[in-house]
Every structure is written in C-alpha cells, then in structure tokens.
Subunit: 197 residues, 2 copies
C-alpha cells in the first residue's frame, strides 16, 4: 500500500547556498558543546547572509556525533511560516535516512540540537520525529524578549517530553545563542510572527 | 536584507498525482459543509490511493470560498513526519500567495478546513500561518481511537486560538470524517507515530 514519491526533487535547493557549502566541509562533532557551537554558528551565518531569523538547528547521531542534517530559519526566504530551523533539520535528516522515524530500531539514536528552545509548533513536532534527545541553547523567554512569539506551550514541556523518553538538556552555551538573537534585533531583523499574534 | 530563494523548485511534484489532477478541476466552495466534504473526500482518496493517512485539509478564502491550496497526509510517502495534511495545505497556500503570513493586510481572510482536529504540532503551526478561522471535522479523540497519537496539547486549545483572534468551528460532518478513519483502520493502514510515543 505504501508508495514512494518525489525522488526527482532537488531538496537541497531549498537551503541557502552558504549552508550547502558549509555542509560539504563539516565533520563529526564530539561533545554537546561542540554541536551547540555549530548550530549557533549557523544561526549567526543566517543573520549575516540575510537568509532568515537568528536560529540554527541540527540532527546528530547521539553517540558518534555524526552530523545527519542541519537547518536554519527560512521563513522569510521560503515564504513558509513552518520553516523554523528545527523543522528544516528534522525534515532533511528524515530525507537523508529515508525514514519518517529517526528512532527506528535499526538506526542509531538521534538528537536534535537547537540554538533556542522550541516554539509550540516545533515542540509538537519533536515526538513525531523520533529523536531521543533535545539539546537547547537559549531559553524561549530569550526569543520572546526580542519580540518573537513562542506560542502556547504546555507548561512543564521538558517533563512532557521526558514522559515520552525524550531527554531534554537546556542552557548549553545560552549566552552565545542569546548574543546572536540580540545582534539580529539590533540590526532591525524582521520579526515574522503572523499579524494576528 | 531579504532574499528570495528556490524559485526553480517544482513544489507541486511533492503532491501525489491524483491530487494534482483533482486540483485542476476544483472550483470554488460556498458553505463550510461543502468545504469540509471536499477535505473529507481528499482524506478518503489518500487512503484509497495508498498515499498516506486518513487526513485531508485545505486553505480557502473565507468569504469567497476560493480554494487556495489543499493537502493530505504525506508522512509515509515523503518520509517526513512533519507532512500532516494541515502543514501541507498551509505550506502550499503560502507558496501560492508568496507570503508566509496568510493574514497579511492586503490579503482577504483565510481559513483552514481540516478533516480532523489538529495534533500538537499542527495546533502550534496555526497561529504562525495567519489563518483567521479553523474548521474541524473529526475530534482529536476520534484519531486517538484508531491509534494515532495527538501529542500534548494545551488544555482548552480552542480558547487559546480564540485569544489570538482565530475562530474555531468544530464537529462539521464529524461522522463522515470518522468513517474515513475507520475505513483506514480496518484496512490495516500504517499508524506512523514514532516508536517512542
């Protein structure tokens, strides 16, 4: 009953050129801090290249640190309110492994590393992705502080994720992640909440 | 600072062929019930064509009933856990109007019509989309009854949306929407929650 689809589409063309180039030279990443520094670098490059908001994310193999896929916020250049960094990273990781479930038994465990805690949408997407750990840089209040709406999240969302066997690690390099957001804010970066928020 | 991107990608190739053909012959839709019948038909066709789960959604201009974009659940064929019907419909509507905000002042008001109440991810995505109304067929418990996980939603989510000036209309043709889900269930359709759920 299951069919395959759309193998002819060049998904990579969705990513900005600078990111495609960066991915060619990216290696494996050891510790959480190293992985976080990488996604914060993506967030910064996204701002500097004018390709979107100050957010970066990536999916890694948890044990080996292999980079599976990376994402940045592409809401404005793709004209797509769903294209948050976490969503882009998850979609590309699943595409790369040809699995809608990154937690499939035959696969090694995967983690999502994100420069900022997830908004309500990305939070809802995490259990569907199959990752078994989420590592966060800035807090969601840091994003709200520069004008971003984070949506209506269940209170105690880390507990909700942990009930689903998804570990949450917070505040990794938080101040560096916040710096990138403030840089975006000071430079007059677009706050792309919908009008109704 | 804003750049455009990826105009060369044939996004329509992401949709199943039956849906692309159906969209060519689709006209405007008057009342909520007519719009709902259309998305339930999409859900049913998605099951019958083996292209995904028993869910359909579409974005309409609220007043005129013009169909802006349609989506079905494409999780399995796209290998993408994010490809719920609502997300597909929102992404294509924004693409079609070249706006990440369907509530932009120059645009007429838009509504999302979905054969089932949104899961936690799609619920989080709705405020970012810019729609001003959500019309739902089946209840989320109907989806849970056949094995789908709906995620951790804020309690009283319709109230939360209405606080953001997004009207919620529930139970439109609910029994027809449930019938499609049961048809999928009885036929042994894949339940594509991640393993960890």
């Amino acid at each position: 009953m299951r069919k395959s689809q759309s193998s002819s589409i060049d998904y990579l063309a969705l990513l900005p050129e600078w990111l495609r180039e960066l991915l060619l030279e990216s290696d494996d990443f050891g510790e959480h801090e190293q992985r976080m520094k990488f996604v914060i670098r993506l967030a910064r490059l996204n701002v500097d290249n004018g390709t979107g908001g100050p957010f970066g994310a990536a999916v890694f193999e948890s044990s080996s640190g292999r980079l599976v896929a990376a994402g940045v916020n592409l809401v404005t250049i793709l004209n797509c309110s769903l294209a948050h960094a976490e969503m882009v990273a998850i979609a590309f990781a699943q595409r790369s492994l040809a699995s809608y479930d990154l937690g499939r038994q035959e696969l090694p465990e995967h983690e999502l590393v994100t420069s900022c805690e997830p908004c309500a949408m990305c939070l809802g997407a995490i259990p569907w992705s199959g990752v078994s750990r989420v590592v966060c840089g800035a807090r969601d209040e840091d994003a709200r502080n520069i004008g971003f709406d984070e949506g209506s999240k269940v209170s105690d969302w880390p507990v909700e994720l942990e009930k689903r066997d998804i570990e949450v690690v917070r505040d990794v390099c938080r101040s560096s992640a916040v710096q990138v957001m403030q840089h975006y804010h000071v430079a007059g970066g677009e706050i792309y909440n919908s009008r109704k928020a």
